[in-house]
Amino acid sequence: MAFISKNDSNKSGYTKKDVRIIGFGNKYRSDDGIGIRIVEELEKLDFFKNIEIIDGGTSGIDLIFLIKGCGKLIIIDAIDAGQDVGGVVNIKVDDVEEFIKSDFKSLSLHDLNLVDVLKLVKALKIDTEISIIGVRPKNIDFGDRLSPEIEKKVPQIISIIKEEIII
């Protein structure tokens, strides 16, 4: 898929101040909480201390406000983009149309789904670089822990986020 590329945004020239990171999900639905878990981990790390990190919960429409006025947005979410369970994808939303055509499911949002929000972003002509780092969950039943297979991906996801924002 043309919109999936690995970590090629370092040339963008954004400063940390221009970057926002948002995790989506419900931390009481097991692996659906990966986005929130990553947010909690990032908040502990010095590397991220000048970066706005947001616990987005499950509210999709609010993404519009978070996208507006920021140079680059990194979204962390439980996503089924056809990868294996536990597989991590780094999706660049360069082409919303192409992105929408893909068989891609965000599992976390309650109101408008991620594809609808991105369509709205396009319709409103909001121009922000968006990367979606998604992990395919194993289990989204009720529970406050990640599956071991997902838990062990936490360091990898944090490394990908770092690479995304290193200038």
Partner: protein, 433 residues
């Protein structure tokens, strides 16, 4: 015109969560009508057992990204009642203030983003942004206003964290209070423009009288606190909800069905409007009048209009509350009440944007939850949604299948069902055409 119809709307889009409607009509008679919730229920009640008194509000605020303040407040109220904690008047006023803006956040989302596309004849908010950008921009500005209010009071726009058992971990500053008042005053032009837009909508002419239940107060248009009141003539203390509100398990849904005086009742903005019209601000009443909304109203589709009238009330009353809080002066000493964990049972009843929300906790002598019961508004509306369908379908049976399908979806959406609370999206199936 059809005699036989077999419709499955699966999923019904633009509702919070996930659900199905299955409709089987033979010779113009409804043979089967099921509003089905296919996902597993949320086991938050079980998750609460064994938790310390300060944990349930944070856990239950995650049940829904849209109603997190409502779950937080219902939870806090249940715990405070159980442990005999008395929050200050300042705390209660600040809770009412943040509560107004969760109602605005949610009502804006529903009226403009989820329901409006039906009335404008477009498939979703995305084409609406192309055909009616002014509507979408008003919606975004109003939503942002409410987000700003929630963030200033609660520390975050989504899942606010400063609202806790006993009070607030941090108070807004006087400057922030003044800023909030300015933000609120600036949104009136958008409300006026919305009024003109909403006047042009062709709301379906549908009428089915039912029992309407909400909380009610002698002074406020009750959202945060009040007795439980029915249009069938009864009113009870919120602690005694079990005297009137009954739940039963039904085979086709993982969410329970509820009943009170009759076999079904409605909760939400229209129920609140019907019970508490006289407590609305004069300005909100003026908007209601201009939109043709009069109490009592038995047209479920008017729930969307009632939601908009509530937005006007929320803004008006927030300005009044800010003035009251400022007049008395923000006092750090009143930010937190004394807490002595112990045994007890308490019920917290609030109006979530979608209607009555009940949290019922029993604590043991170690201050840990022994038993929890949560009744959510969409669960209360399920039986009434099915009754409305039974009333609506015979009136539209001569229309095309697509029109019937859309009307069914619109009716379900009018309830603003947050199926994610009780479980999770809505699908519609017309079977046997």
């Amino acid at each position: 015109m059809v005699n036989n119809l077999n419709i499955e709307v699966s999923p019904v889009s633009r509702v919070e969560g996930h659900g199905d409607l299955i409709l089987d009509v033979k010779n113009k008679k409804i043979e089967k009508l099921i509003f089905k919730i296919p996902e597993s229920p949320r086991f938050f009640e079980a998750m609460l057992v064994g938790r310390k008194y300060d944990e349930p509000s944070h856990i239950t605020s995650r049940i829904c990204g849209i109603c997190s303040v409502a779950h937080t407040c219902a939870s806090i109220k249940a715990t405070e009642k159980a442990l005999d904690i008395k929050p200050s008047k300042q705390t209660i006023n600040l809770r009412k203030l943040i509560y107004h803006h969760e109602n605005v956040q949610s009502n804006v989302l529903h009226v403009y983003f989820l329901a409006a596309p039906d009335f404008f004849g477009v498939g979703s908010v995305v084409p609406l942004a192309e055909t009616h950008p002014e509507v979408v921009n008003i919606a975004l500005r109003t939503k942002k206003m409410a987000n700003d209010m929630v963030r200033i009071i609660g520390g975050r726009a989504i899942h606010p964290i400063r609202t806790v058992v006993g009070g607030f971990t941090k108070l807004p500053t006087e400057e922030e209070m003044i800023k909030m008042k300015e933000i609120l005053k600036s949104c009136y032009p958008d409300l006026e423009e919305s009024l003109e837009v909403l006047k042009t909508l062709d709301i379906p002419d549908f009428k089915r009288e039912t029992e309407y239940i909400s909380i009610s107060d002698t002074i406020d248009y009750a959202l945060y606190d009040g007795k439980i009141k029915s249009t069938d003539g009864w009113e009870i203390d919120d602690q005694n909800y079990l005297d009137k509100i009954n739940e039963k398990v039904v085979q086709h849904s993982t969410a329970k069905h509820c009943w009170a005086s009759r076999d079904a009742f409605m909760v939400g903005a229209l129920a609140r409007f019907n019970n508490n019209y006289d407590k609305l601000t004069d300005n909100a009443k003026k908007y209601a009048e201009e939109l043709g909304l009069k109490a009592p109203c038995y047209n479920t589709f008017m729930n969307n209009i009632a939601q908009f009238v509530e937005i006007v009330h929320n803004v008006d009353d927030s300005i009044r509350l800010i003035d009251e809080i400022m007049e008395e002066g923000l006092d750090e000493d009143k930010a937190m009440a004394e807490i002595k964990p112990g045994a007890g049972r308490g019920v917290g009843v609030v109006e979530a944007p979608r209607g009555l929300l009940i949290h019922d906790y029993t604590y043991n002598d170690k201050g840990r939850v022994e038993k929890a019961n949560l009744i959510i508004p969409t669960g209360m509306n399920y039986a009434n949604i099915e009754k409305d369908m039974h009333a609506l379908i015979p009136t539209i049976i001569d229309k095309s299948e697509d029109e019937i399908k859309l009307a069914c979806e619109m009716l379900i959406r009018a309830y603003d069902p947050c199926i994610s609370c009780s479980t999770h999206l809505l699908n519609v199936k017309l079977v046997n055409k």
